[in-house]
């Protein structure tokens, strides 16, 4: 008992000021940082895909299906860190059985189910249905069988039926845009509605989350498109890349302005919590907020993207800058999530002290689990691209097959 208290006391020595006794442990750790990061990528990738579909941004055609599949891969993984962090994961079904209508979090199950079942899966299904029917006829053995199941028995690929697919697909995309906003805006609301926490409590939270989601999604697809094209030894579509970079710049400008607005508003209002929050920013969050999020994750990529997009640069150089900027944006957005989730717990609600967060390496909520959850979507995406190759459109190799059928 004494040694237990002694060890606990030694762990407390890095705390400054006064924190409530029950605040010595952080309750939302690394896994909860990963969760909004992943859903942000989902929402961002989907919104990018819908730009092509709904607003007819033709340049983006090469990444349309890639965006959809990436969104799906990340959406599959998004709830896993949440599940792993629960004290009783076996009780998670209660969210569907007895959802508390006044709880923001209770809506998670429904928002997630809606987005997965009604939006993403349906859109992908309608989009790939024709190809799947063809593949199910062409491929032999196991693969043919899988495609037959995936068609769900709807094997009619007549002209009118395909027209129906297209119409429904478009309708779903239109529903999908507000749904994607909902998916991630809602994650922002989970934090923004906690009045007990002055770092979180802000009406701008859902909107900031949304725009940072779009930023991270575009950057992800940009990087993924470059990598996948490289490994397939194909020519990168430069108009597409330029368009992605442009969109990324616009989204980043909006995102950065919103965050700046939030920051200035807080500083100017200078409420009770301002002392402890500024203390936290200048000490505990200095690296992750000032350096990683603002300088490396926002300013540097924004400036270099503008320079690469609108400056006179050789194409090769331009691609390299795009790629590095996209990676920096990912670092920046991950830091944003970190600063929201971990930052919101580093100061005491007594507003009198700061606590510390030490990342575990092993353990259920440790670094290794986190890395696993961050890499898993890419593995899933790899399988998905094998199953539902997204490059078909640009290679036009569907044409002969089409001719055969009709």
């Amino acid at each position: 008992m004494e040694s237990m208290i002694a060890s606990a006391v030694s762990a407390l020595q890095d705390f400054t000021g006064y924190i409530y006794p029950n605040e010595y442990e952080l309750h939302w750790e690394l896994l909860i940082v990963v969760y909004p990061y992943l859903t942000g990528l989902v929402a961002g990738a989907f919104i990018l895909a819908s730009l092509e579909r709904v607003f007819n941004v033709k340049e983006l055609q090469p990444v349309y299906r890639l965006s959809l599949l990436s969104a799906l891969a990340f959406l599959f993984v998004a709830p896993l860190p949440l599940l792993a962090h629960l004290g009783h994961p076996e009780r998670s079904l209660e969210m569907f059985l007895t959802p508390h209508t006044k709880s923001a979090m209770a809506m998670f199950g429904f928002v997630y189910a809606w987005y997965l079942m009604v939006v993403l899966l349906l859109e992908i299904w309608f989009d790939y249905r024709k190809s799947m029917v063809i593949w199910s006829r062409e491929k032999k053995g196991m693969m043919g069988f899988i495609y037959r199941i995936l068609t769900l028995g709807a094997t009619d690929i007549s002209e009118s039926s395909l027209r129906f697919d297209d119409k429904v697909g478009k309708a779903i995309t239109i529903i999908g845009i507000p749904s994607a906003f909902l998916l991630h805006g809602y994650v922002g609301f989970i934090f923004g509605s906690i009045k007990a926490n002055p770092w979180w409590s802000s009406v701008l939270m859902p909107i900031v989350f949304l725009f940072s989601a779009i930023v991270s999604g575009i950057a992800l697809i940009l990087a993924l498109y470059m990598i996948t094209t490289m490994f397939r030894f194909k020519e990168i579509s430069m108009p597409c890349l330029n368009k992605l970079a442009e969109l990324l710049i616009y989204a980043m400008i909006v995102d950065f302005s919103l965050e700046l607005l939030d920051f200035i508003q807080r500083l100017y209002e200078s409420e009770e919590s301002i002392n402890i929050l500024s203390h936290m920013i200048s000490s505990r969050l200095f690296i992750s907020l000032i350096i990683s999020q603002i300088i490396l994750g926002s300013l540097v990529p924004m400036i270099s993207l503008i320079w690469a997009r609108f400056g006179r640069l050789p194409v090769e150089m331009r691609r390299i800058v795009y790629f590095i900027a996209a990676l920096l944006v990912q670092v920046g957005i991950f830091s944003t999530r970190w600063n929201v989730v971990i930052g919101g717990q580093l100061f005491s609600k007594s507003l009198r002290g700061l606590t510390v967060y030490k990342i575990e390496l092993f353990g259920f909520e440790g670094l290794l689990t986190t890395c696993f959850f961050l890499l898993l979507p890419f593995a899933i995406l790899y399988v998905l691209t094998k199953l539902l190759p997204p490059w078909i459109i640009d290679e036009k190799d569907i044409k002969p097959a089409e001719a055969q059928v009709s």
């Binding site: 208290i5 006064y18 979090m105 007990a196």
Partner: protein
């Protein structure tokens, strides 16, 4: 125990029968039985809807002995590590200039060592803290599955068989009154000793408070120690700007208390 009873009446039963016979002893017991009526009834037909429990805390009376925090840990099997508390005592030292200094070493259970800072103290006092059993409880609002709730007698409880351990309620509590139970992996907090109320007893912290700095009773009934407390004191609730409508009232608490 039961076989034992049938063989020989034990001392307690003997005295009980005496107390009924001797009017003098009966008179001694009278105010106690009145107090008993206020809280709950031995007969068992307890009607929760007529109750709405609350607590008053008189800062001027608190001597910072930490007996409440110690008794709470015993009564409720709260983990003994110094960062799990259902109730704890804070020491405030207000210097002539600058920020208040606050500490709560092991929740005050082992007493308060002398402050090593050499400061010009203006005033100093102790503040016991616990779950405020808010009428507009943010923890209840955010619980996704309905595992934390306000009972019909106005106590905020956690359903440890239903809690998923998402810790949203811990984030939502402005008072730091909740923690994740390290073994049960569910949210845990003060229950106003709900199991004691049901048996007609006072919460353990109130029972052991040597100076009656803690007053427990009904918020809504005229004849209640809490109502008297509210009548005679200028009370505040903590973080009233958050509109949580707490039912733990502080008399003599400084504006620095939060």
């Amino acid at each position: 125990m039961k076989e034992n009873k049938s063989e020989k009446p034990n001392r307690r039963e003997f005295l009980l029968s005496c107390s009924k016979a001797i009017p003098l002893t009966g008179a001694l017991f009278f105010p106690l039985s009145a107090a008993r009526l206020l809280l709950a009834q031995e007969s068992g037909d307890y009607d929760p809807t007529v109750h709405n429990y609350g607590m008053g805390i008189d800062i001027h009376k608190c001597i910072g002995c930490g007996r409440c925090a110690a008794a709470c840990k015993t009564e409720n099997n709260v983990p003994l590590e110094p960062h799990y508390f259902r109730t704890w005592v804070e020491r405030y030292v207000l210097p002539s200039e600058g920020e208040a200094l606050v500490d709560s070493p092991n929740g005050g259970i082992d007493g308060f060592p002398e402050m090593n800072e050499d400061i010009d103290t203006l005033r100093s006092f102790f503040v016991p803290k616990l779950c405020n059993h808010c009428t507009n409880a943010p923890c209840v609002q955010v619980c996704p599955v309905g595992a934390t709730f306000i009972t019909r007698d106005g106590v905020v409880l956690v359903d440890e068989k239903y809690c998923v351990g998402c810790r949203y309620c811990i984030q939502a509590c402005p008072y730091g009154a909740r923690f994740l139970h390290p073994e049960k992996k569910v949210a845990d907090k003060c229950t106003f000793c709900y199991h004691r109320l049901a048996k007609g007893l006072l919460p353990a912290c109130v029972e052991v408070c040597p100076t009656q700095a803690r007053v427990f009773g009904e918020v809504g009934q005229q004849s209640s120690p809490l109502r008297r407390f509210l009548r005679f004191n200028d009370v505040i609730v903590l973080k009233s700007s958050l509109n949580t409508l707490p039912k733990v009232y502080y008399a003599g608490a400084d504006g620095e208390v939060r």
